[in-house]
Each structure stands twice: as C-alpha cells, then as structure tokens.
Symmetry: D3
Subunit: 144 residues, 6 copies
C-alpha cells in the first residue's frame, strides 16, 4: 500500500461573512477577514490517494488521471476567482478554509469513481495551506 | 557596508483592469487576472537597507525601527485588503505587482528620513513575490 | 472532522547533558551537543487540533484562542531563552527535542480545557522541527 | 511515544520502462518518463521511527545509528547513480517512485534489527519526494 | 526600472566527463559525478529581465511571452532529458551547471529580440539551482 | 563570468551584550536578545565566488576546495558553539549577525589565496540568514 500525494496551487480571494449573523457579530467573529472588500491567498492543495501497486505500471495512482480530475473540478473553478461571488457553494456558506476543504472534498469524492473505477486507489485526504502557517486537513472515514 | 534584509508577509486581493482600456482590451491583456470579482495572493515583501556598522550597537540597521515603519506604512494599509477598492493609489492605477512595488517604494522612501535621520542606513531595494514563481524588484538609483 | 494546524517559531539555546551521567558518558552520548557552552536552534512548532465544524462560524478551531494559549504557555517561556538555565522543567531533565516536545505537550494539555471548554476541538499532535532535517512528533492517545 | 523523522537527500537518474511491455505500450504508459536516455531527480527521503523515551539519554531514537544505517544501505547505493543500470533490484523492475520506496523499505526493514536490536524504536514510515509536487509514502503494517 | 523574475523547473540527467581528458583524470576531477551511468537533478531556473513600466499595461515584462520563449527554447529541450546524449551542445562539452547556464543564456539571448523586439525588457540574469545547495548565475555585460 | 554559490548550515548560540555599555543600556538596545543566558539559531550561510570558466574542467569554482575551506575556517569553529564564550573574536565584540558576517568574511578572505592561488575565482559575497526573516550580506569592494 502506498500513499501518493500530488501538490496543486491556486490563487483566489474571499471574504469571511456569515449571512445569518449581524454585521457586528461578523466583525467580532472574523476580524480583518470580514473586510467587505475581501482579501486573497495563494492556496496550496495536496491531494493524497492510497492504493496497492498496480503490477503492469509499477505505480499506485495514475497521476495524469488525477491531474485531469483536479484541473477540471477544482482548479478551473477556483483559480483566480472570488470564492464568495463566483462559486455557487459559497453563495450562502462562509468560505472559511474548513468549508473550502469540504467543498473540494465533495467535488473529488463525487467524481472519484468516474476517474478511478477500480477498487483502488481511494481518496485518502486533502490538505489546504491557506498560508504557510494555516493548514487544514480533511480525511476519509471521518467525513463520509 | 552591510545589506540587511527583513521579510514581511501580507495577504490581499486585486483585479487587473486598466481604466483607460476597453473591457475587451483588458480581457486580452490580463486574461484571468482581469476576472471582475478579483482574486488574491499571499505577498512576500523583502525590504533591504544598506549601511555601515554602527559602533555602539554592532548593527547596521535598527530592525525594530524598520519594523515600525513597514507596519505603519505598508502592512496596516495592505494586509487583508482589496487593493483596487481600498488603497487610494490604485483607484485609477492598475495594481500589477510592478505598480504595487512602486507604491511600496514611494511609501518607504517618503518616510525613510523620519525613521532613519542619519546618513545611513539607506533603502536599497524591495522585492515582492506575488507567488513563489513571480518576483518583482525595485532598486534605488534606478527609480529616484 | 478537520485537522487544523498552526505554525509557530521560536529561537532558543540548549545543552544536552544528563545530570545522572558522568562527563565522559555525556560526551560519548551527546557528542558536540554536549558542548558545555551550549548551542541553539530556530525551532518550528506545529500545533494540530481536531474537531467538527462549528456551525455558527464555519470553523473547526478558534485560531485566535489557540494563538493566545501558545503565546502564553510556550512562546513567552521559550523564545530567546536558554532552555537548561531558564525553564524549570529542564533543571534536572536533559532538553532533548523529545523532552522539549513532552514539556510543550504537557503545557498545552493542562491548559487546553480552560481555552477550549467544549468537547471539541481536541489537541491531536504537536510537531517540533529542531532543524529542517530533525523532526519530532507527539500525538494524543499515545501519551495520555 | 514519539515519532522521530530524519531527512536525507540523494540525486539519481532513472528511466521508466517496463520490460514486459512493448515499446509502444511503454511510451503510452510513461510518456516523457520513458525517454530512452533517462532523466533525473533530487530525491528527498524522510525516514520516521517510533519509540518511547529511553530514560538514560532522553531520546527516542539513536539518530547517529539511523544515519549510519541509511548511509550504508541507501545513500551509498543510490547517490549519483542510474537506478536502472546500477541497482540490482531495478534490473527487471521499473524504478517508479513506488518501487523505489518499496526497495528502500525492504533495505531498512531487513537491516533494522541489527541496528536497533531492542523492542524500540520501530520503523514507522518512509516518505520520498521525487519533486516537491510528487510525494510517496510507505508505512509499516500495510507492507509487512 | 524593475527586475522581474520568473521561476521554471525541469528534471534532467547528466554525466560529468570531459572528452579531452583520460578516464583517470575524469574520475579524479569529477568524482561521483563522473559515474558512467549518469545521475540526475531537479533543476530550478530563474530568468530575470529588466525594464521600465509599460504605460498601457502597468507591467514591465510580458510574462506570457517570456513563458512561451522559455518553454520552446529551454523546457522542451531539457525537460526529462539526458543532457549528454540528447542535447547537441553537450555532445563535446561537459554538462556542468556552468556550461548548462551558458547554453541556456545563449538560447535566450539569440531568441530574445524576436520575442521582445522593443528596447525593453532586457535579459538581465539567469540563475540555476542544481540542488538547493549549488547555485549558478550568469549575468548580462559579463558574458556578451 | 559566473557567480557560484554554495550553501552551508550551522547551529550556534549567542548573547547580544556590548561590553562598553551598562546593563540598562544593553537591555534597552538589544531587548530579549540581551537575555544573560543566551539563545540560539540555525544559521544558513551562502558563500558566493565569481570567476570565468576554467577550460579543462568546465567549472568556474572548485567546489570541493571551497567546502574544505569553509569547513576548516567556519563550520569547525562555529558549529554547535556558543559564539560569545568559544570564539576569540567575540570575547570583546558583540556577536550580532553583522559582526558574525564580518568575522566569516575575514576568515575566508585571509585564507582565500592559499585555497585559490590563481587570479580566479574571487570571493564575491557572503549571506547569513539568522532566521528566514533576517538576512545579512557582506560584499567584496565594500569591505576591503
């Protein structure tokens, strides 16, 4: 069994503002991240899949297939975007890195079998670094 | 003589859109960076000052004074901001990293003597990394 | 469930010398780390907490509260300190990175509930990089 | 219990070519990695061992002993080598990073007890970064 | 005036062997880098161009044009290649990083005017990191 | 002409305390760096030499000779040392990174000709990173 991780990057902007809270509560809760004009980050996304060696190729994951999946479902949707304004999932959900992580997880999960129809590899975890100091992980089993 | 460099970070969002150009020209010129909702980056700013050793302290630059200058003039103004909407200098100037570099240079230059009234240290260069792959430098002599 | 990691840094000095061993045994065991005048490192500390999404904030961990805890219990005590001479826990215990990790773990554990009184988030692991080549992790379950 | 990780580096070249496949199948499967003249990488290898604190030393792993093991079994064999031509294990096995990881794992496993004859520390995982974007992990329990 | 730097990566293999020297002299001169089967690196290439702000775009360098130049002249030729066997310039010249730097410099110089026909930007320097510890720079004025 | 840079690392401790100043002045000047028990850093040292291509080897700098020079004059003297107590040059001089840089520069300069007796390569600059945020450079011409 191998854990294979592939790193991707995208730049996006967001504003932390929970629609069900008042302006004052939002300012209290999110501080400068609640700035109405938004701010942005260079996100670093690591996608990790687990699987046994495939005998024919000597590989555990078809990395080109993974790249196509991530490009189509994640990078095309988020790269150089305003997450609040341009991603449907964040119209009514605050785009914290936790919620961004869940959205990425859902997109990869729901398209995984079409990309990897065999029993393996399986999506094991994703890791989002909003900055080098702030890191968020979502793992299989805990979220399904 | 020593060159002393100090590193700072700030996250901000921007949109590349030149007001004197048509929408079609802007899309052609800036591509995805012209996205009307903006996007963002974790900017890394290096400020370099040159000077001789100061005998009393064994230092060439009073780093605490430099930190106060950069915090007040740069970080307080740009950190977690939308550069187009919230920084006066970019109301009518497109916030490319080159123009951002010039704005940072001007702010440091015009407040330098108040912070460092002696002949030394002098502001030598600034370096902005928009991403690890895109780096912009502004140097003294070339811009004064 | 999310794993949220936050990175901190501090610089400190230490000397590896076990009080119950002879000088010769200490030199044999610790080599250049036993140098009587000590040496130092830029330590990088990652603190990881696990928890479910809190509905109101869309976050799993109150990062500001975590920062206050780490600043008060860890950074204020270790930053720019000589670990042997200035940290009570290392008066009679050799400040290897393993023992430093346990001391950090104990300080965070014993103040965790005061900072995070709800069932979640829980302290999951800490990771100390003494240098980029030497990394030490302490995890929950294994040390309680 | 501690997890102690130590980082090593080596530069090597390889060619991905599965001997049981036709030239056309190899080109299809490995793309530019099938280039008959080979190419190369700066591999980064992290070796992680788990164990309790040893009371006498205040350490969990004798890092010098680990260094000697890795130097002798891994670095001496792979550093500045052509993996296909100079490592026996890859004469008939394609040197993907997965197979490279398994070969490193086998070498460390089969020499572990001679280096660490006590119950602890145990080899927990190895991690190979072929490039900063392509990372492969092999863990105990899953491969024994 | 701005200095704009753009970072590229390629993986390649090489062998240091000077054709005009004997086998013994080569072994003496290049040590393990003379290994007849070659070895490899993940090269990091920084290309720096200098120029004034172009008023219309607010940029100093058309980065997309630079990317096309570097892709066509450098990455297509070196990525996943054996430098000795597959790059004409190294058939009779030893592919040290110095010679690799000069070859990259010549390729960029001789195609620069076709890509950037105006007076600016000008190619200022290239920097090749063979590993994070070994760095080579070629600058304008010194090599023309 | 090439600029060749080689990176080295050492860990050391120091205390900033100027002997000609009072305790109060030292505390005021150096803050927490004046802590009487000292603290420490993982220093990163880059040594850069300039020279033309040597025809026989295709190299500009004999890196093995440079390594021997730096090991003997710098690393053996500073690695795992307390700079104040164990380095003669800092008995009466405060070991700021500026003074540390000058001491390294002097040691390399005074032994350069013995190591590199030909006209080239010449020592061009050294760069010391005390932490990733604090960087000090010393250059030829400015200090001779």
């Amino acid at each position: 069994m191998f854990l294979v991780t592939r790193r991707y990057r995208f730049s996006a902007s967001h504003r932390l503002h929970a629609p069900q809270l008042s302006d004052a509560e939002n300012r209290e809760l999110y501080g400068k991240c609640n700035n109405p004009y938004g701010h942005g980050h260079n996100y670093v996304l690591d996608v990790s899949a687990r699987g046994p060696l495939e005998d024919r190729s000597g590989r555990a994951v078809d990395v080109e297939a993974l790249d196509r999946l991530v490009s189509r479902e994640i990078l095309d949707a988020f790269e150089h975007r305003n997450l609040n304004a341009e991603v449907e999932a964040f119209r009514h959900v605050v785009p914290t890195s936790e919620n961004l992580g869940m959205e990425i997880w859902r997109r990869l999960r729901s398209n995984w079998t079409a990309t990897f129809p065999a029993a393996w590899p399986r999506l094991e975890k994703i890791r989002i670094a909003e900055t080098p100091r702030n890191i968020f992980e979502v793992r299989a089993n805990e979220n399904e």
